[in-house]
Symmetry: C2
Subunit: 384 residues, 2 copies
């Protein structure tokens, strides 16, 4: 297998982009990534999107985007693993470059979620759960994560305030990210007083509905060394699945797919959790970040809530988590999230993260998750 590097990244401001279509937001970010990499031709294109069929009535997405980007007849693939579609796109791009099938691969994620109404969006997002065994009975994603939160509180004494602190930390970081959908600081009180969605989760525990895209260019490391930009290597890629229905799990507070994916990525990279300088995780709900930091091995099992309170995962802490603002503040266009996480790590390792820069960051990790943990994708990056 060839070594793989990231040589270009592109992202535009996320939010409710009613004046733009999916193909427009995709193309803007793809062109930025090509420009950043200093290339104009690609050998292959991979795009992660969770549900362009339900959100905008468009499948055959990769071909559409290759066409609109002016890159046909390039091979183009769309991949899907619910909210981990972006991470999966990165993994498939990594494999394609590593295999020798393609040199320059454009990896993107995109989702246009605000062209449907709230009920339709909730239905579309619910397709990441088990349609027959979960959604049919009326549960939605805030409900599933509320069950996880309640179980974590009961089992480990995690407090309502600790959940809120995840949102406060991520909005603090996000306030320094001009591309974030909600770059505003919030307080614990604001979270605790926000509208109840699914007890104990309130609206400020939830990531928003977002339109957005993110793009990056991969190539073999040998080729990357000739580029002018600082080169970031992808040194580990792990993906794993778990039962899709929460009810089938032995312990709903433990995200086994993240544990398994991280184990593979650490092993491939030859690294330990302690080696990670900057980390982006899938905080679709505040409780998710708590569970994920435990499964990644950067905090002790059951101590995810306490670690947030103690500042372990803050920008100045031992393991800065979600410097970008996370899904919570940056927004969560589901298929795009995994690629945007990787872009944040690349920016951090290139020392281009501005006021939210983690000093001396040399190794970074991304964790992207589908559904309530039915799938996870973990990547590890290193500065050269």
């Amino acid at each position: 297998m060839r070594e793989v590097a990231v040589i270009g990244v592109g992202m535009t401001k996320w939010g409710e982009l009613w004046e733009k279509s999916l193909r427009e937001i995709y193309t803007e970010t793809a062109l930025l990534a090509l420009d950043d990499a200093g290339v104009d031709k690609i050998d292959s294109l991979i795009v992660g999107s969770m549900s362009s069929g339900l959100f905008i009535g468009q499948e055959h997405l990769a071909s559409l985007l290759a066409d609109y980007l002016g890159q046909a007849p390039v091979p183009a693939a769309r991949v899907e693993s619910a909210c981990a579609s972006g991470g999966l796109a990165l993994r498939m791009g990594f494999i394609e470059v590593a295999s020798g099938m393609a040199d320059i691969v454009l990896v993107s994620g995109v989702e246009k979620m605000t062209d449907v109404n709230g009920n339709e969006a909730t239905y579309a997002l619910g397709t990441a759960a088990d349609q027959e065994y979960e959604c049919y009975h009326g549960i939605t994603f805030p409900g599933l994560y509320a069950l996880i939160a309640r179980a974590h509180m009961e089992k480990y004494g995690t407090t309502r305030e600790q959940l809120a602190m995840v949102a406060v930390k991520n909005h603090h970081n996000g306030s320094m990210n001009p591309l974030a959908q909600y770059p505003y600081k919030i307080t614990v009180e604001a979270v605790l007083n926000s509208v109840l969605v699914a007890d104990p989760l309130r609206v400020l525990d939830c990531s928003p509905i977002t339109d957005g895209a993110a793009a990056m260019i991969l190539c073999p490391l040998d080729m990357a060394k000739k580029m002018k930009k600082p080169v970031v290597k992808i040194i580990g890629s792990g993906q794993a699945t778990d039962t899709i229905a929460l009810s089938s799990r032995k312990d709903i507070t433990w995200i086994e797919s993240t544990y398994q994916a991280a184990k593979k990525a650490y092993s491939m990279a030859g690294k330990k959790p302690q080696d990670m300088d900057v980390i982006e995780v899938h905080d679709c709900f505040t409780i998710a970040e708590i569970c994920v930091t435990e499964a990644l091995g950067i905090v002790e099992k059951g101590k995810g809530g306490k670690s947030v309170e103690e500042g372990v995962t803050s920008l100045q802490g031992k393991f800065p988590v979600n410097a970008s603002g996370g899904l919570k503040a940056k927004g969560h266009p589901v298929g795009a999230t995994g690629v945007a996480q990787a872009i944040e790590i690349v920016k951090q390792l290139r020392e281009e993260a501005g006021p939210r820069q983690v000093k001396g960051a040399w190794v970074g990790l991304t964790q992207n998750m589908g559904g309530s943990g039915g799938s996870s994708v973990v990547h590890i990056f290193e500065r050269t």
Copy 2:
């Protein structure tokens, strides 16, 4: 890159499978393929499905299927390129094995299309065209292919009877395939007298709406040589895109994406069109087979219709096309089609095709297509 082999295939009878869910038809075929290969553990799972979101309200499909198959925490990816999703899954599995990331990869395609009504199915299939520039104005897929058919008739003198002969040939072959949805012979008169769908195409020019799945097991060639079954190598893989909207093409009778994908596959395989002993192509409509045989280079440009009439593509002809019955007789569960095409070639090269066996078949080709040719995937297989 490592050499890649197919060591197991699995398929069940296709049709209107109202008594089974998507996960059931998927699992049946996956278990058959595992059994055929003589393995019970896989390293990775890739599934092609065009629109499980619109057809059954289920995304996060690969995780669901890994779970239901009892293979979690295996990495699982769903890929989509409209009706070429199955071919794309095969290509991604080929790349994964070639790269060294995984040894045993389960590649499948699946679609459950009959749980929605006809209007909903037409809408879902329309998402393979350009939603904004084509579907919005009211055109559907029979309409798009009718435009291609009319143009081909005008430009090359292709006759209405020649179109019918494609359906007659494929139903003749399909009558010998017990897994086909419609294993019945038809006549030219029956096609010409069937209900008009979009002039000049009649209902017997169109592939049907189908529930079905197909599965195969890939592994490195070195590992395959230890298996008891005859080993079939994948010696070429090509994928290409074209404008998604028909109106953007210079010549709508020419499928450029198939030409480009085939060119890459022939080059990788070190073969010419003349070397192909058995060929499966994407006959979603009769006119499609005519255009595709031209783009593959097995018949002269403009002579696709005449070649059918002359028997060039019949089971006893120089280039037997769609020995399986094709999409026309076998059925067309969109995401599954590309994998089923590959299964037919594997059976032919293993000499397991029964009464429809092409004698002495040594090299075979599959061509799977998305939309009206917005994407094509071509694979070439060789007996060892």
